[in-house]
């Protein structure tokens, strides 16, 4: 797995994981009409895929998840440690590396025509689609809920996730225009 990961890749992976961690230390943004606060967590997942590609983005988020498991309080609200992975919502956190990978893979495939709209679409597919595809069945299984009930409980997060996908798309497009990204990526 790390055979084709260069030292440069390791540095990118580590610094992007650190970036996501640092951003999570910032308090959540409360949007008036939404029932749950918007945290930077899945925003970082979307951005990792959009900006440093499938392999490095996925591994960066995997490293972030690993740091949480090791005992760093990097999740929203200062949560972290092994306990998070034995709670009912563990599937959502475990889905993040895959989500970043999918967003990154789609972005790499379409790099020539990327713009804010495509960044938004790929962020939704990875950062919302993949996350719920893994997180909801996981929740249903470990909490002995029906798939439908588990999905119902998760729906309150969708509006916030959509806002995050928009924010991720605008940020990714601005960074794409101002810094040479994928040239160094491949």
């Amino acid at each position: 797995m790390t055979k084709d990961v260069s030292t440069r890749d390791i540095v990118y992976i580590a610094l992007f994981a650190a970036l996501m961690a640092a951003v999570n230390l910032v308090p959540a943004i409360q949007v008036g009409f939404l029932p749950v606060p918007i945290t930077a967590q899945t925003l970082g997942v979307m951005l990792a895929g959009c900006l440093i590609g499938a392999k490095r983005g996925g591994l960066a988020i995997l490293l972030f998840v690993l740091l949480v498991a090791l005992g760093l309080p990097l999740l929203a609200g200062g949560h972290g440690g092994l306990g998070v992975f034995f709670g009912p919502t563990a599937g959502f956190i475990i889905s993040w590396p895959f989500a970043a990978f999918v967003t990154g893979w789609l972005t790499e495939l379409n790099w020539k025509r990327m713009n804010a709209v495509w960044f938004f679409i790929f962020s939704v597919i990875g950062g919302i689609g993949v996350v719920y595809l893994i997180g909801i069945p996981w929740l249903a299984f470990v909490a002995k809920l029906s798939l439908f009930d588990a999905a119902k409980g998760s729906l309150i997060f969708v509006p916030g996730d959509l806002v995050k996908a928009i924010v991720a798309a605008v940020i990714a497009e601005t960074v794409r225009r101002s810094y040479p990204l994928m040239q160094t990526a491949r």
């Binding site: 797995m1 790390t2 055979k3 084709d4 990961v5 030292t7 440069r8 390791i10 540095v11 990118y12 992976i13 580590a14 610094l15 992007f16 994981a17 650190a18 970036l19 961690a21 640092a22 951003v23 230390l25 910032v26 943004i29 951005l47 900006l51 490293l63 972030f64 690993l66 740091l67 498991a69 090791l70 005992g71 760093l72 309080p73 990097l74 609200g77 949560h79 972290g80 440690g81 092994l82 306990g83 998070v84 034995f86 709670g87 009912p88 470990v142 909490a143 002995k144 809920l145 029906s146 009930d149 409980g153 924010v167 605008v170 940020i171 601005t174 960074v175 101002s178 810094y179 990204l181």
Partner: protein, 199 residues
């Protein structure tokens, strides 16, 4: 290491090697999921709570740490009570409570450096598949080193923008932060390569 959930202490759990703690946790979680006995699950909660308290974490930390999961478990119990059976609710909530308490206790009682060493050791059998545990170790160390630096950078950018009257604007905050991080990554990679490091 100053950041982290590790709580220095001398409890029995502190003295156990990290690998043994993790193996024990996996055994308990498998047992709880394979034996669908409500009595067993209910009995394990006070035991897990005792283990959690034995690590000597201050009471304030305990409340802060357990409030979030408790609310979540309450919601799940409500779902079971309304749409399913109360027995199922009791079983799943007791199961989660046990595992969350035990896992949190292990996190309190194990330094991050020990956990990282365990990860490297666990990855070593994957060497034939091309996984290089030293590279994983380098990535962990780099990330932990850079978290406070990037957090500091974030504070600088925020202050600079607040000084110009720009309130919390995610775009104005993240774009410079990401570009600075990418630039730092490029420079660091150049520096590592210039010194002939090949992991």
């Amino acid at each position: 290491m100053t950041i982290g959930l590790y709580q220095p202490g001398h409890s029995a759990l502190h003295r156990l090697p990290a690998g043994a703690k993790l193996a024990g946790l996996l055994v308990v979680s498998l047992a709880l999921f394979l034996i669908p006995s409500t009595a067993l699950a209910l009995l394990s909660v006070p035991v897990a709570f005792a283990v959690y308290l034995s690590t000597g974490a201050p009471f304030r930390r305990l409340i802060a740490e357990l409030r979030g999961p408790a609310v979540l478990l309450l919601i799940i119990f409500a779902f079971h009570a309304i749409f399913g059976s109360i027995a199922d609710g009791v079983l799943t909530v007791a199961r989660f409570a046990t595992l969350i308490l035990l896992a949190s206790a292990i996190t309190h009682a194990t330094p991050i450096s020990e956990m990282a060493a365990l990860v490297e050791w666990l990855l070593s059998p994957l060497r034939p598949l091309g996984v290089n545990p030293e590279k994983v170790g380098l990535a962990i160390a780099l990330a932990i080193r850079f978290i406070p630096l990037i957090a500091e950078e974030l504070r600088h950018i925020r202050e600079a923008q607040a000084a110009r009257g720009l309130a919390a604007n995610p775009l104005a905050l993240f774009v410079p932060l990401i570009i600075r991080t990418l630039k730092a990554a490029d420079e660091l990679a150049d520096a590592i390569e210039a010194r002939g490091y090949d992991g």
